[in-house]
Symmetry: C2
Subunit: 253 residues, 2 copies
């Protein structure tokens, strides 16, 4: 089977302002590169956001899980490989490999996307949209493995409110929504300096639940994932003291 | 005169997450690209930060002024041209042109840099460092014009405290300093949504005075530039209610 028309690889370098105080790439910047790779992979196959927008549709990111053996360092070059793992009626699963120039992995990522009608805001049936064209590009996990766990479940028991922030101009994207990457930044900012000095960020998961907008007040609730994992934290973000906007898990090693 | 070995041009595209809610590139992202272009231009000529660090020296950005006729939009490609305009004993002036692919200007920028000894933190004499090698690359304003005003002077009379923020993990760079670009984001975030909806950011100036660190509390003081310019604001950023960290001017049109 020829996978060349199904898998794309994009090269990026870790720019100076994209490295944190330990010299490693910020996770939010990596997330941004993954979403760009997803966008370009879709666009090249005729179902990019630009094309969809003309037909009143768009992609919505539902889940993103990133697991890194090592974070790339300043000036290092990385290859981002991306492919569609599966398509079920309302969702598609897209995977990523984050590789060194020699092909060895820094880590992997998994994501789940829905396509919505921008007028009704309802999800579309991907198996029939454009005659199911997307199915032509599916690469099964047997063909190109993504060896990290799938997206977990969150069970918030009694999380503690740890921070409340207002949102401003720099937080929102072209649609006026708080941008998916900014949530990652705000969530990592909940952790103290020592956590990043003494450990490395091993895995990050986020589930986007609903949109927030410029001016919304975001409250961050945190709990340990469970008693057996002292280095893993679950975070729930709520807007305006009510609706859940997203939920995330950060695991250090 | 051959300017080819003196002027570099780098191409970048406006990525989806780098566009604001009006569809135009964030100024902080543009600033990041300018600093990258400066870094690469220096590096190619043997006085990049990497080389300097080996000899216990580094570049410090002192001033940055950006003036745009138009901000590039999402997916547009831009060319960033950069060159050294002059070298005086303790400072070098570096200019930038931000161009469309057809060579017409989006805008221009000016910057001033000092080189410091990282052990003594004292500025170096650029006319003698590496036998004044940097002088070989000077391109005068007659040879390649940068048609925007130089850096202005700030005169703070009675600015009002408009916001105080704590700084976290995402705010700091590899040296542990609050990163130059994050100040631009935090400063633009002081303006209300309507300002960006109704006008365009025409000119931004910033003067970096001293470093702030992760955990420092930053206070933002704002005043109108003067009574005759209702669309221009001066901002002073102080750390821990005391020292001035930077001063900026934002002019809308």
């Amino acid at each position: 089977m020829n996978l060349n028309n199904k898998i794309d690889t994009y090269e990026v370098a870790v720019e100076p302002f994209h490295a944190d105080f330990t010299g490693r790439m910020f996770l939010g910047i990596l997330g941004n590169h993954l979403l760009n790779a997803a966008g370009r992979h879709s666009q090249r196959r005729g179902w990019g956001i630009g094309t969809l927008n003309e037909e009143h549709h768009t992609w919505v990111l539902s889940r993103l899980s990133i697991e890194m053996q090592e974070m790339p360092r300043q000036y290092e070059k990385i290859q981002i490989m991306t492919w569609v793992e599966s398509v079920i009626r309302l969702f598609t699963h897209r995977n990523f490999a984050i590789l060194r120039p020699d092909g060895t992995p820094y880590g992997y990522a998994r994501s789940i996307w829905a396509m919505i009608d921008t007028e009704t805001r309802k999800p579309c049936d991907l198996l029939t949209y454009a005659d199911g064209d997307i199915l032509r590009y599916v690469v099964s996990d047997e063909e190109n493995v993504c060896p990290i766990d799938g997206h977990g479940r969150f069970r918030f028991r009694d999380p503690q409110l740890v921070r409340t922030i207002d949102t401003y101009y720099s937080d929102v994207d072209i649609n006026g929504h708080i941008n998916s990457i900014k949530y990652i930044e705000h969530i990592l900012d909940l952790l103290p300096r020592e956590r990043f000095e003494q450990q490395v960020l091993h895995r990050f998961e986020i589930a986007y639940k609903t949109e927030a907008y410029m001016g919304d007040r975001l409250s961050f609730y945190l709990q340990p994932t469970d008693a057996t994992q002292p280095d893993s934290f679950d975070i729930e973000v709520r807007k305006n003291e009510a609706e859940v906007v997203c939920q995330a898990r950060i695991a250090f090693q």
